[in-house]
Symmetry: C2
Subunit: 106 residues, 2 copies
């Protein structure tokens, strides 16, 4: 595992490309307990715009980290869940939670 200085294709940079944007890790955090509807994510992620949420979900889906299921109900119901790849990001979220807890409330 290479953690030190390496070029833009190093593993940390690859993870950063997928997870680096604002909200992305928070979406994964919200999906760790299980699948969620779009509206549940919107409620949980206080301050995110519908456009931003849709963009982030599409990016994570494109990168293979989440799976979207559309149920043919009226109105249609859309659910998101982590893929096997997405679930591997759990260690990052756990390390972030641990680090964040040491930062205090400030």
């Amino acid at each position: 595992m290479t953690m030190s200085n390496c070029n833009e294709f190093c593993p940390v940079a690859r993870a950063n490309d997928v997870l680096g944007g604002k909200w992305t890790t928070l979406i994964i955090r919200d999906l760790l307990p299980g699948k969620k509807r779009y509206s549940e994510l919107q409620r949980s992620l206080v301050g995110i715009s519908p456009r931003m949420l849709a963009q982030r979900l599409a990016k994570l889906e494109g990168a293979g980290l989440i799976v979207k299921t559309i149920y043919p109900t009226v109105p249609p119901k859309t659910e998101y869940e982590l893929s096997n790849i997405g679930r591997k990001a759990e260690n990052i979220i756990a390390a972030m939670a641990e680090f964040g807890a040491t930062l205090g409330e400030g």
Copy 2:
């Protein structure tokens, strides 16, 4: 440790506020082996603009994750190193490296 659904002040969100921007985790990765000069960071972070690097370093310094030392030489030499707080982010970088390695080259 709270990892699941929580409000914007939860530990994951706090870590995200500090580490979430593009390049931020890569700067910390570069500083893990030890202190570096501004020019070394600029060379390592292929594609970063001087303005963006300065902004990110200032943000990390403001958050207490890195320490900047200016040596009164001619010309002045500036070095950056991780603080004790910044060093605690190592687990996140390690988890990102592990995750990034599983993403393949694509």
